[in-house]
Amino acid sequence: MEFESCFDIIGPIMVGPSSSHTAGVVSIGKFVHELLDGCPEEADIIFYDSFAETYQGHGTDKALLGGLLGMNTDDSRIKHAIEMTHHYGLTYGIQLEGSCPYYDHPNTTFITARSKDSIVKVGGVSLGGGLSKIFMINGELVDIRLSTNDDISTLATHFSECVKKDTVLKGVV
């Protein structure tokens, strides 16, 4: 049972236009932000399948960047997230691909984010209705359910040991 609460169905309160392509993606970005304990300096983003085909129309890029900058789903600054990356010193690239090799769902993304001395590689899937899931951290399969009712910061602290120091991980990247 992926959906557990009445607020998974009625909610989230969010900026439009899409709960799966906008709101759920903000949460994935926000999780990465919390893992790194702040805004990354660099992010390589892969959008798969439906995300790759329609990200411009849904503002999926703005949503993910907004989350990486630390915004929540109902933050009205999300529509300006691209411009705001400059202020926060975040440089990013977006790559578009077909089906995701790690997780069978059309709304998947993979983010490699780097802050001063840390790097983290996170796979996320947006399941619809604003609910999403982190399925991979640094090559390890995980199953972290993200609802906009959850405190993403607390969820992320349980996995902070996954954040490798850059030097340690370089060999395996």
């Binding site: 009625i10 909610g11 309160i13 439009g16 085909e53 411009q56 059309p106 619809g128 209705g129």
Partner: protein
């Protein structure tokens, strides 16, 4: 309390506990979250108020969405309804106006409440505030209606899907319309069985609907499908309140929705590679928008 995996189980629990569908969902949330009823009701109330705010801002906003392909229709509809000549009657006409207002706000990246998704966010607020407008259903009852809707949506979402990318528009506007139909029935004093029948009838009417947004935007045809969803919700509710049953039980309808969605080709599931997105006009819009950006 036992787990609610099907509409059949949901109806059984309402009988066992002698409570409405909405009350059962509220109890379930209390157990799951450990929060007290009052807190949970206040959280739901906040969502209702956000819905009202989206309607109020959208209803009077003639401005187009950034894409230029939607916006301004809520104002037109509202003016038309005020002239008193709409053919569908005030319940449906008001619901149509409110639904347009919400979905247009969504397209402008305004704040809305996903019910169950943002693409289908116009339907439930449309019917709820039409009930308020037309027969004075108080906000406390509308809040309980949101619990009813969430219970119905909870079963659908866990048995099937609610996103267009996973199951087509039938999963999105279809689910929202089905939830709205059952909610109207419960708010109008129907039994849980009647509410579930309305849910089934509404979902059957939208089975097979593809997700084909022009240029990948949640605007064309999504906004008008929300609007039409409100009228299907009222029709299905009327049928159920008249005592008419769905010949196919609701759980089987939901399973059928799942099977249809799985079999639906990828081009018709929110990839904008088929249907209306690939019409001559649809392609032109996409070209115009994305050549401007790059």
């Amino acid at each position: 309390m036992m787990e609610i995996r099907s509409m059949r189980e949901l109806i059984e629990i309402t009988k066992l506990e002698k409570k409405s569908i909405g009350q059962i969902m509220l109890m379930k949330e209390e157990k799951k979250s450990g929060k007290d009823q009052e807190t949970i009701i206040r959280m739901m109330e906040e969502r209702l108020i956000k819905m009202k705010e989206a309607i109020d801002s959208g209803k009077n906003d003639p401005s187009p969405a950034p894409s230029g392909i939607s916006g301004g229709d809520a104002v037109k509809m509202s003016q038309y309804v005020r002239r008193g000549k709409s053919l569908s009657g005030t319940y449906i006409s008001d619901a149509m106006t409110f639904s347009l207002a919400t979905s247009e706000s969504n397209a402008r990246m305004g704040v809305i409440v996903a019910t169950p998704t943002a693409g289908a966010a116009g339907i439930l607020p449309g019917v709820l505030f039409s009930l308020h407008e037309n027969d004075g259903t108080p906000y406390e009852e509308l809040v309980m209606g949101l619990f009813t809707a969430s219970a119905l949506g909870y079963v659908i979402a866990n048995r099937s899907f609610i996103s267009g990318a996973a199951g087509g528009c039938q999963a999105e506007v279809g689910s929202a319309t089905a939830m709205a139909a059952g909610t109207i029935v419960e708010l109008k004093g129907g039994t849980p069985e009647q509410a579930v029948n309305a849910t089934a009838i509404a979902m059957k009417s939208l089975l097979g609907l593809v997700c084909d947004p022009v240029a990948g935007l949640v605007e064309v045809p999504c906004i008008k499908r929300n609007v039409i969803g409100t009228s299907i919700a009222f029709s299905a509710a009327d049928l159920a309140l008249a005592g008419i049953e769905s010949r196919i039980p609701c759980d089987e309808v939901i399973n059928a929705m799942y099977e249809v969605g799985k079999d639906m080709p990828r081009v018709l599931k929110e990839t904008s590679l088929g249907g209306l997105a690939m019409t001559e006009t649809g392609k032109k819009v996409k070209e115009r928008l994305f050549s401007k950006k790059s």
